[in-house]
Amino acid sequence: MLEFLPEVLSSLTQPLNMLLLCAGVLVGIIVGALPGLTATMALALLLPFTFTMESDTSLITMGGLYIGGIYGGCISAILINTPGTPSAIATTFDGYPMTKKGQASKALAAAAISSGIGGIIGGLALLFLTPILADWALNFGPPEYFWVAILGLTMIATLSSGSMLKGLIGGCIGLLLGTVGISPVGGESRYTFGFSQLQSGLELIVILIAFFCIPEVISMIENKVKSQKSVKKEKGIVKTLFFYIIKKPFFLIRSSVIGIITGIIPGAGGNVASLLSYDAAVRFSKDKKSFGKGNVDGVVAAETSNNAEVGGSLVPLLSLGIPGAPPAAIILGALMMQGITPGPDLMSQQPGLVYTFLIAFVAANVVMIIFGLMGSGYIGKVLSIQVSYLAPSIVFLTIIGSYAIRNNFLDVALLIGFGLLAYVMKNAGFNPAPIVLGLILGPIAERGLAQSMLLGEASGNVFALFFSRPISVVLIVLCVLSILLPLLSNLFGAKNEDSQEKLGA
């Protein structure tokens, strides 16, 4: 890694890159703070701004936006009891009670410090785990890629909220959408319905914006902005809180590890990370009863974990080309726009770029702490922006983003069409995450399947190629477990409930 240090430093010390890193974090915090505007949406909306940038500048800006967006969610969670992003859900449990007790400034400072620490630990994990996983992934052949794709889908289908059956159906729909265009191995045109623009397939970013932004915008017009409590500044609170937090290393590491592991697993996002970490904080606390009533440890646990998850979600993206969370999927789209294909080869082909991004990622967390401590009270003021202005402006920005990718008007029509479909599907219980991951993993899985079949036919045993290689066997076992474990836990959960009901009767 040290041999790339001069390249990393020359890129990071460029004034434009430093400026855009700070701007990315700040804009991310503002967008993340607005209820209904998730970190995914922040990245999707601001993607067209990065089209004309150099690849390192674009990645640095996107990293800053992602970090700022996840942190920003805590501001509205603390001030108005509404998580700005889903990952801030657990922050409301103790953050808002603290605001009601007049401790909003303490809660915001605790959130900023713990988010920064969690983010830096997540960033270090990203820095050290990515090369290891990428090295391991270099041993993958077509069958392993096929099984990795299937594992990603089964995990997201079972881990994302709602019914598992609907999650699996969503994954299949995504895989099917991924087959539109020219077949990667056969070379024939599929499902283009006479539109020559569809020969190159559905544009990933258009579908990402359609599934993650349009339903949120439509839902947003239902929201009523709650009144915001005023933030009174307390002197010396930052220093006191900083020492209070860093004197709990085990607590911080536990919350961060939960976040990193949750991030690496596709499908389990920041909301799962913060809830698991909050739950662990309550379980291991000596003063369980104070949680939910304004205990600062609740805020620290949730925020450390959801920001550590950001680094975790980028590990499979950079090493395998599989995003660990929806915002990482947008970063995948941004990388592909720049002509960069994430995966194990990225580390060997463009190590300077990867390390620049990884170091910038850690630096962005430091910038986030500074902005968070200095301005979260002021940023909270943006919560009063009226939805009547915000919702149409977001649609306007999504149109710019979808058209600018390949100057194709069909993409604009597809954005609105798929966006409306996504809204109806979301209301019917189909989570957008499995559909989008299906679209991303579809081509990986298809290439893996077709190439494995050709290799198998050449060696005379297709079955052995798919089911007997050691890494494939491990992946198959994980696929089966990821489907069976939730089914079994549901079954036993239902039985336990039945027996408890009978006992109660």
């Binding site: 087959t179 077949s183 070379g187 499902y191 649609v395 306007f396 604009v412 019917a428 899985a445 077709a450």
Partner: protein, 152 residues
């Protein structure tokens, strides 16, 4: 008679989609159809399971329960109209019309402002936002924006 719930309707639509998708793979070579057909068969099986589940455990709630359907319908139609307007009038004019009309509609419940104030605020924001981003993308970032059939 039992009311048909949205899960049953969704599952039937999915079964039809899977059926059409399988039909569309006919005539393709093995390497082109093997993956989509495998996925479509899995989708068909899952959709049938979903259909059966919708009969065994029917949901009692409706699809858009607790949602202001009128607002959602207006928003959806406005977005479709926006796309049509862009294709006819180009991005800038279509955006001014879309932003102005939708913001105006969404402000109808706001009784704190007079109608005149609302018109002024809505017009300034619609023209301001549209022109600012149009200039920013077209002339600063050099990102092309859609032009219309009637106006550029």
């Amino acid at each position: 008679m039992q009311k048909v719930n949205y899960n049953t309707i969704s599952s039937v639509i999915l079964i039809i989609v899977a059926g059409i998708a399988i039909w569309e793979t006919r005539g393709l070579s093995e390497m082109s159809y093997v993956f989509p057909r495998t996925i479509e068969i899995i989708l068909l099986i899952l959709s049938i399971a979903y259909c059966l589940k919708s009969f065994i455990r029917p949901t009692t709630n409706s699809l858009f329960e607790g949602i202001d359907k009128r607002k959602v319908l207006v928003m959806s139609l406005a977005m479709i109209g926006y796309v049509i307007l862009i294709s006819l009038l180009g991005f800038l004019i279509a955006s001014i019309i879309f932003l102005g009309s939708l913001t105006w509609y969404l402000q109808r419940d706001n009784h704190e402002k007079s109608s005149k104030t609302k018109i002024v605020h809505v017009s300034i924001s619609a023209v301001g936002v549209s022109v600012f981003f149009f200039v920013l993308f077209r002339y600063v970032f050099l990102v092309p924006l859609p032009s219309g059939l009637l106006l550029g």
